[in-house]
């Protein structure tokens, strides 16, 4: 047991929808505070069982860039993405996101700046209603009920799911659940969005809608995917990851045209 923090931010009924408290000063609800950059240097990561998942990665991504991470299963893509949000910490090397080095001192802000959208929306959605789920992040951040309400509304509108607010996440289609999962992180106002296999399990229409949605986002975007057409359609830059290291980094069109490279890394 470490030091006990004082009880903070107790908002009775904080997560209750439609409790409009419009007396607060409006912030622009979805304007990120951070600068959206990512800088990774000499990143090494070893799992507790000894598996060396990342072996020295260097990477710089500018604000607003849209980058696809390509690579075979087990290449280290997911491990890398979990570093961006501080869920994994480097064994060696550093990770900077939105101008902050990921550490115990910054972890609370890092999680607000970097939104992780997991592959299986069921891992992410656990509340009785869509509204409650989207309100989780803002409520945890201790925002006022009015601010929470605004954030949830704007985030749901951004993914076109405002009409689903009172539905149970479990009862939605896979495409709807994926959109709601995105809304749950959008509501935290991140400057960087990280997606794991966003097109997995979607039918062609769901996939087209996803691509349109991704194209409409202004945040820095990082996507791990096996879906090369998705990378081509929405991500100008691609990074090929294999065996815990970066194998190629360049314009998506050039990388996808290099058949030898794709074959060498299990992408074709």
């Amino acid at each position: 047991m470490k030091e006990q923090h004082e009880h903070l931010h107790t908002h009775p009924g904080a997560a209750v929808p439609h409790s409009h408290g419009h007396d607060h000063a409006h912030e622009a609800p979805l304007m990120p505070a951070g600068d959206g950059t990512i800088a990774i240097s000499h990143l090494h990561f070893r799992y507790p069982d000894g598996t060396e998942a990342l072996r020295g990665m260097d990477l710089a991504i500018a604000a607003g860039e849209k980058v696809a991470l390509l690579g075979p299963n087990g290449a280290g893509k997911s491990t890398l993405m979990l570093h961006l949000n501080g869920i994994h910490r480097p064994t060696h090397g550093t990770v900077h996101v939105a101008g902050m080095q990921v550490s115990n001192e910054t972890i609370g802000r890092v999680r607000a700046e970097v939104g992780l959208v997991f592959q299986d929306p069921d891992d992410q959605l656990f509340s009785p209603t869509v509204w409650d789920d989207v309100a989780f992040g803002p409520t945890h951040m201790g925002l006022t009920p009015g601010a929470i309400h605004d954030r949830v509304e704007v985030a749901l509108a951004a993914v076109g799911a405002l009409d689903l607010a009172q539905r149970a996440p479990m009862r939605l289609s896979i495409g709807q659940r994926k959109r709601v999962a995105l809304a749950t992180v959008l509501a935290m106002n991140p400057s960087i969005l990280v997606f794991d296999e966003p097109s997995a399990g979607l039918d062609p229409r769901g996939r087209r809608e996803l691509i349109e949605l991704l194209q409409s986002l202004t945040q820095t975007l990082i996507v791990s995917t096996h879906d090369l057409e998705l990378a081509r359609a929405a991500f100008p830059r691609s990074i090929v990851v294999d065996r815990g290291a970066i194998a190629a980094d360049g314009a998506t069109d050039e990388i996808l045209a290099n058949r030898e490279l794709l074959l060498a890394h299990g992408l074709a």
Binding site: I107, G108, R109, F118, F126, G137, H140, M141, L143, M170
Partner: protein
Amino acid sequence: MIADPRSIGRDARAAVVTTIAFVTAVALLPPGSYLALILAWLLLAFAGALLGIGPGHLARRGLVALPFVVAAVPIVFLRSDELLWAGTIGPLSLQVSGAGLRIALTALMKAWISVQASVLLLALASPPSIVTALRRMRLPAVIATSAGLTIRYLEILRDEARRMLRARTARSASPVGDGRERIGGTISWRARTTGSLVGSLFLRAYSRAQRVEDAAASRGATGSLSIGTMPAADSRLTLKVFGVLLLVLIITLSGALLPRL
């Protein structure tokens, strides 16, 4: 935790009986039988070495039971026989009882040794083969089937729980301008969140159970699952049971004959 694949499908009754007998013999040793306990541990370490498990590794695995010693701490200070020390520390007047200390230390050693015995059992027999062995030893079918399926789906559901926790952590940010990790919301909101996670996992487990049932039904199962074919009975079981009795005898006699402290 996962045993040698060769051991799957072997009759694990001898291993189960040996472990239970060993743990019982150790439990029967009177307080202060440190020498007998050391002898029991040496037997265990020898068996471990035969199975390719080093004594250091085994000893470390045994440490998991140690936190429970908190339960035996009061007895050290509250008995007043064989006082080793009495005095005051600040406002507290304290006494250390030799008898109490002996009880606590003995319990600790027994716990440490018994944990290592079950570590060896797992090295010797896979969890499903242990369930089969218990089934042979008259464990009711409902319990055996249920235990077998629990073991089968344990890691899958723990993995789901882990991913759900990770997704919650990823969204657990601090207020703007605050760097360190903090926990937000009211206590009852956090309890509701945790309860919702539990409820979600239940619904996922429930629909998995229905899929398992459908799959079983589509292969012609009705109602309950059969345990599968039992491995051939261990032909030397009687001999092994005599070996076990010998083991118990050695430990018990060493407890009676070796000096106690």
